[in-house]
């Protein structure tokens, strides 16, 4: 199955709902799970599935992404043939504007798609946390005979905006709709990732572009679903889209569960990320740590419970961190207390500070800030 698929990834999207967390970065480069960026999951899934030709379409604030990916070596994507191609925002002479939607964006890289020798294409956003075998997806797609296969997962509806799918007993999509309310029933939710024939994508995009359409989902997917041409592939195990602060927090906290970690990081399908050569984490004599996920390079002398610490975080003596996420290079000084907080990269909390959010509304402290 190797090299049958290429992939087009969208680095941006939903930045508005991630508020403070994406001021300085694309959604793709949002830190997640203690040592990763969101895009690491998709890149690793692709590489583990033998997909090595990957085009990444960026829109804004993509320097953090470029810095993270560099030549793609950490994902074994520094290839002579194929590898990663990053497409900076491309302004069409005809529109004099950065692309408005996925259709325009794909249209601008038609050459890249046409020149690729692969027959199939995976189109996805970079905000999926999952361990996906794309070979299984392709097999399912070919078997189904459908024009498009969309990846889904079953999950609960939260107040976050979600794309819900109804399907028939032949696994064909019968309805797609947006929901923004909570429900206790598990529903089939879209992961905004699609597999189709490369030539098909080019035809879809050229036709839609000619008619001034911009939105891939509304203008192409909905129409194809109405024709019964869209197949559903349900990703087994843990999967989620991270597209707002609340989702970010709840999905992060799910990683404290052993089964979730096994499904996301488990087995031989590893998740790769940029190697930083941090030293191992050092626990001091006064450290007290429970139920927490902790990356390399930390120095812990205080209390940490139900939390996630990224690389090179320092928790000083007497500091207490509960139900929180501390990103890379964070420092929590003596006798400060944090609960339900997300501190972005390089945040310093000085001595004796009390910071507290709520489980449904975690407080976010912006990158490089000193409290």
């Amino acid at each position: 199955m190797n090299n049958k698929m290429l992939s087009i990834l969208f680095a941006s999207g939903n930045e508005s709902k991630l508020n403070e967390l994406t001021i300085h970065r694309t959604t793709a480069s949002l830190p997640f799970g203690g040592r990763y960026r969101l895009i690491d999951f998709t890149l690793s899934n692709l590489v583990n599935s033998g997909v090595t030709r990957i085009g990444i379409i960026t829109r804004s604030n993509y320097s953090s992404l470029m810095d993270h990916i560099r030549m793609g070596r950490d994902w074994d994507l520094n290839r002579k043939n194929s590898g990663i191609a990053v497409f900076p925002p491309f302004v069409l002479n005809t529109s004099r504007d950065v692309y408005k939607g996925k259709i325009e964006a794909i249209y601008t890289i038609t050459d890249f798609i046409n020149k690729s020798p692969e027959d199939y294409v995976i189109v996805a956003n970079c905000n999926i946390a999952a361990n996906i075998d794309f070979n299984a997806v392709l097999e399912n797609h070919i078997e189904s005979g459908a024009d498009i296969t969309m990846l889904c997962h079953s999950g609960l509806l939260t107040s976050s905006r979600r794309v819900v799918i109804s399907k028939n007993d032949k696994n064909r999509v019968t309805d797609i709709f947006f929901v923004e309310s909570t429900s206790q029933n598990e529903r089939l939710l879209s992961l905004n990732a699609y597999v189709m024939k490369k030539d098909k994508l080019v035809v879809y995009v050229e036709n839609a572009y000619a008619r001034g359409h911009v939105d891939f989902e509304k203008d192409i997917l909905f129409a194809e679903a109405a024709l019964g041409a869209v197949n559903v592939y349900e990703v087994p195990g843990y999967a989620s889209i991270i597209d707002d602060v609340k989702m970010y927090y709840t999905e992060s906290m799910k990683l404290l569960n052993y089964d979730t970690r096994e499904q996301l990081f488990g087995a031989d399908k590893k998740i790769y990320t940029k190697v930083k050569d941090s030293i191992p984490t050092k626990y001091g004599k006064s450290s007290f740590v429970k139920n927490s996920l902790i990356a390399d390079g930390c120095t812990i002398d205080g209390t940490v419970e139900n939390s996630i610490l990224f690389r090179n975080v320092r928790i000083k003596e007497g500091a207490v961190v509960r139900d929180s996420i501390i990103m890379e290079d964070g420092e929590i000084m003596e006798d400060s207390t944090l609960s339900y907080a997300i501190t972005d990269k390089s945040v310093t909390i000085k001595e004796n500070r009390q910071i507290s959010g709520f489980s449904t509304y975690p407080i976010v402290i912006v990158k490089n800030k000193v409290v």
Binding site: I279, L293, I294, I308
Partner: protein
Amino acid sequence: MLTKKECVAMLLAGGQGTRLGALTQSVAKPAVPFGGKYRIIDFTLSNTINSGIDTIGVLTQYQPFELNQYIGNGQPWDLDRLNGGAFVLPPYQKAKSGEWYKGTANAIFQNIDFVDRYKAEYVLILSGDHIYRMDYSKMLSYHKSKNADCTIAVLDVSLESASRFGIMNTLNDNSIYEFEEKPKHPKSTKASMGIYIFTWEKLRKYLISDEADKSSHNDFGKNIIPAMLNAKEKLFAYEFEGYWKDVGTISSLWEANMDMLDNDSGLNMNDKDWKIYARNTAEPPHFIGEGAKISNSIITEGCNINGCINNSIIFTGVDVDDGAIVSDSIIMPNAKISAGAVIKHSIVGWNSKAGVDAKIGEEQKAAINGEWKIAVIGPDVVVGDKAVVAAGAMVE
């Protein structure tokens, strides 16, 4: 034609390391895991690139497979250079002869062509079994400023321990007039660290004449250095200050690991300007469970800790189950410590398993004659449920 390199490093990594017993049954000593996420050789490789030397020959012989695979193309140490980089140099069959490396000097002799190819002016000879952080470029400047033929890095050791080392007796200007291997009555406390810089032209000559001498052990310490001293060549001692440890024995390997826990040991791994690099294993962050209690320890990525850890080094991918106790111990990559197991003053090898309620090692109050009684479980060993392993025992 290759680009000229001022200094080429040659790393002697062929030693069997017999004193490490079970730990070096299947791997060469430089490939033995160290300090949570490293191998012993990472220190020398990282020192080399951090010193601005980007061409390094790694001479392997004993159990080379693991080491060759670990070094690979040298990328983790930034040694995948277009000109230069890391080269694994095993002994090979030549047109007229083919033989194993007979000694340290013979290993370099057999690779004269390698050094010649880079037209190196100086050769840095290193060994792959020491834990230290050192800027070789300063030593090279010293060598040049002294216009020396050979510079030997020395460490000031205590007079009592001096008889365990190769001792350099020097004049006021640090020129060496005598070399004594493990002297009973040491005249100086300048111990050789096994790190040499030679002016290549000189060394080349001595290697060739040493090879012609059939009675020679072909060893730097036993033959080359004494021969150069006899011929009144210019040999200087370069005084190194800082942490340095030969991890040739179980006790010293254990001690050096424990030094990682001691902020005052001098083994400052936190220096961002002098990082020690290692090949990455792509494991998720480690998880500390509800039942865990951790004090004064190092824990690496990929671990699942639910037991009690005290004064210990826990390597990548280790599981410590509920109720297990690990103290003053080194648990190497991917080992499993089952529920209720008690590990004290021990080294548990990679991929090994301590069964439920197993007891490995005993608490040691102090070293006896400088040696700690450390229990060692070799790699890939299963210690059965409720089994008992005595202090200082070695299980293969």
